[in-house]
Symmetry: C3
């Protein structure tokens, strides 16, 4: 038991600051040999969309409209004081100038360190998204039962 | 230890999307034989109010006003892009048309599968709510110490 | 193992209601002999700032502006229905009149019960904050790896 180190994140928030928190935790844990699983659902799916800007994805009018408004990794809002998307850009500038890893760098580091990314089947179904809308690094599309099997015995955080 | 499967959710957010996440997790975990406890506090209490619309509950002017604005299960807002309550209705429409369980269905499934619902004593006290304001399926009114006893040894998520 | 009771909170939200939830959990767990660690990051850092009002902290224009807007413990907003900061004040009034511990009381109780407070190194770096900007009770400034060591084997919640 003492050697089992596992961290699973349910990433539901598609906010810039919470995405940074998720990937900081994920890459940090993977770097010290944790098995790390991230399960993206609802707003969190925006983080792993193939196209990082706003796109009309989905089948019907409603999901196309929602997906456009929800956007992708480049358009994640700050959870407060977003100022129409200006703040995430300023924040990234601050991070660069202070040599702190940016969201993109944390994301790449997480992948390089073997963090497993999963997409939530049910949320995809509601939003009309399919596996091809996401980056190819997504390991699988899962439901709750499989996620529980993966996360069991470790620490699970809801972000 | 290996057989102990327990999940406890502290459901503080009274948002539509997070309530769906909570009950998807709860019903999914209960379906694979987890013991599941949900502890509703603050905004989360809106989800388990007996009357699902807006009601003036409480003793004084302030809690009556707050409870009216906080609403019930029918008036939970989406955490973003709520559009004055339109989005949760559209989302429920999408879920129905795609045969994904709606919030009400997930809620009923959770109860049918034996998920234990608890209300937070302190938050009820602050908001002037009493046990009779909630659905009768609430198992008990608890404080932190009792919740910690219930959740110990399992996975605990803050939603 | 059965005796190890540990709870670690990653407190990223600098919202009034979530801060109350964090310190209610922390003081409640510490009161029943849990080891409790709180790791403050991003908005959460506002809760532990030495000056509880709005201050221009940091080095450059941007962090000074952000820190001013982010404020301190006295200016935490309610996550919804904030009404320009009126609601947290009304809520504190309600808590006092009903003899429920206020945020400041929960905070003091947590410290008195031995809850360990930590500040996130990376977020401090981005926001231009230094250890001296925080209350002296902060035990240490940490990165993710050290936090994971502290939290391992207990329950970890993201708030």
């Amino acid at each position: 038991m003492a050697d089992t180190k596992k961290m699973s994140l349910i990433c539901m928030s598609g906010e810039f600051d919470k995405a940074i928190a998720a990937f900081t935790l994920a890459s940090g844990a993977a770097a010290v040999n944790y098995e790390v699983n991230i399960f993206f659902t609802f707003w969190g799916l925006n983080i792993i969309k193939q196209k990082t800007g706003r796109r009309f994805l989905g089948k019907g009018f409603l999901d196309r409209a929602f997906n456009f408004m929800m956007g992708g990794r480049k358009t994640l809002p700050l959870s407060r004081l977003n100022f129409g998307g200006l703040s995430p850009k300023l924040m990234t500038g601050l991070m660069k100038s202070r040599k702190v890893a940016t969201l993109n760098e944390l994301f790449d580091a997480s992948l390089a360190l073997g963090v497993n990314l999963y997409a939530c089947e049910m949320a995809m179904h509601v939003l009309g998204l399919k596996k091809g809308d996401f980056i190819p690094e997504i390991r699988d599309v899962l439901g709750v039962a499989t996620f529980l099997e993966l996360s069991h015995g470790g620490e699970t955080l809801f972000i």
